[in-house]
Symmetry: C2
Subunit: 262 residues, 2 copies
């Protein structure tokens, strides 16, 4: 199975993109709702939680793991790759490659949680591919709670977005990385606030495209994954009504979430 984890439900935007782009592969998803959000926590704590999540996914039969969380990808992916033998795909690498490839003026913006932005990983990675680029980062800690409340078209959300995005507009960026798996749900509000000419890079879609390409080159792994012919499974470490609602909203269908104790 393809194992996917996130601090909560945001990573389901990645799971949904994988389902669309890699149909026929069973997924096992784990949302660590009992410890959500990761984005405001320290590197040590995020790494500890991420290892626990990987252990669980491997027990469930995952042969490859997708870190569907920018905060965990930016702070813990190296530690996870060191510890585990299975291939580990993060959401940062695909998005940085895409950003470096499509920016014309080489001025790229990145938005994310405080943990992701403080790690400066996007900046380092984009500059590694495009040393002459300018990368401008902005942490947007209130966007995750706003999305989790379902305030996707409220006036306050638009104002808060304008406050976060205004400094990036001034920098005349032509490409903006949505460096948090919750943010695709705000795409329709972000695009008009940045202007129609700014490319938005959806880290969820890019991770799914990357995985699709990766699996194409790995026939053995592909066979192993598809040997498991059960349905996809979705686990969470805590379950409340808003979480269930948001999951169904992301998948546009009813999703059965199974609660487990970690």
């Amino acid at each position: 199975m393809i194992g996917i984890f996130d601090s909560g439900v945001g990573g389901m935007t990645v799971a949904r993109a994988i389902e669309k782009l890699c149909p026929g592969y069973p997924l096992v998803y784990f949302g660590d709702i009992a410890h959500t959000p990761y984005g405001s926590k320290s590197i040590d704590t995020i790494t500890r939680y991420s290892m626990r999540n990987c252990d669980f996914l491997l027990e469930q039969g995952a042969q490859i793991i997708v870190i569907a969380c920018n905060s965990a990808s930016s702070t813990s992916s190296d530690a996870l790759r060191k510890k585990y033998d299975v291939p580990i795909i993060d959401v940062i690498t695909p998005a940085t490659e895409k950003a470096a490839a499509i920016s014309r003026n080489k001025r790229v913006g990145v938005i994310g949680t405080r943990a992701t932005i403080n790690s400066t990983i996007y900046e380092k990675r984009i500059k590694k591919i495009l040393p002459e680029s300018k990368v401008y980062s902005q942490s947007c800690p209130l966007l995750v709670p706003l999305v989790e409340e379902g305030w996707l078209s409220k006036r306050e959300t638009k104002m808060i977005l304008r406050r976060y995005l205004y400094p990036l507009r001034l920098k005349k960026i032509d490409t903006l990385v949505l460096g948090c798996t919750h943010y695709p749900l705000l795409k329709d509000l972000i695009q008009p606030r940045m202007g129609q000419r700014v490319n938005l890079i959806d880290s969820s879609v890019e991770a799914a495209l990357f995985l699709q390409k990766y699996l194409t080159g790995m026939p053995d792994l592909r066979n192993k994954i598809t040997q498991h012919d059960g349905p996809s499974k979705f686990f969470v470490s805590d379950l409340t009504t808003p979480v269930q609602d948001l999951a169904s909203k992301i998948f546009c269908r009813n999703i059965h979430l199974e609660k487990i104790n970690v």
Copy 2:
């Protein structure tokens, strides 16, 4: 020592009030930042975390425990009293008694996190004292993240507050319980939005007053607590810069937070 726990730093408004009203007693505080916030989690999960917090405070030498968190008080205080022998003081009882005592028109409002409001504990407790009262509740899930961001005077915070408080204004309440230990930090924004004639009940201050009165009647316990003559201690399960800043803001002095792994 007087043990105090909260899901994060909000409970420090209680610790600060206790320090002022009960000087001379050493405090041991635990903020469960690694699992914050509790307010959006399930009863099971909050109770599990609360027990772990009590175990830690007892190990540190607490002879009485104050649950400085409305979400934990409303969902888990019965379970904690059943499990532990020490006196356990919650933040709900003192606030409901005060609200019932000072409301003239017997129309009381309560604001809190989703966990607190869904528990309906304030409503039940106030109606037990004042059966003829009307209690109107409103969950305000975005206020904790706004306070933790330090957005205490931003226009967006005022707008979100207006949206949450407007339905309570329509009910013509004369008393409003601030049923979350983060909310005292928003008192100056809440009062003008509710009108100057509405009494605001600060659950942090009421809990400290209740503790002061309780200790007056318990000379043996008082002696036991003051036998420990070390300074007050503040522990957290995770530590980041915004947490450190908020702690110092609440205490109006530099507070040393010690990180421990739970």
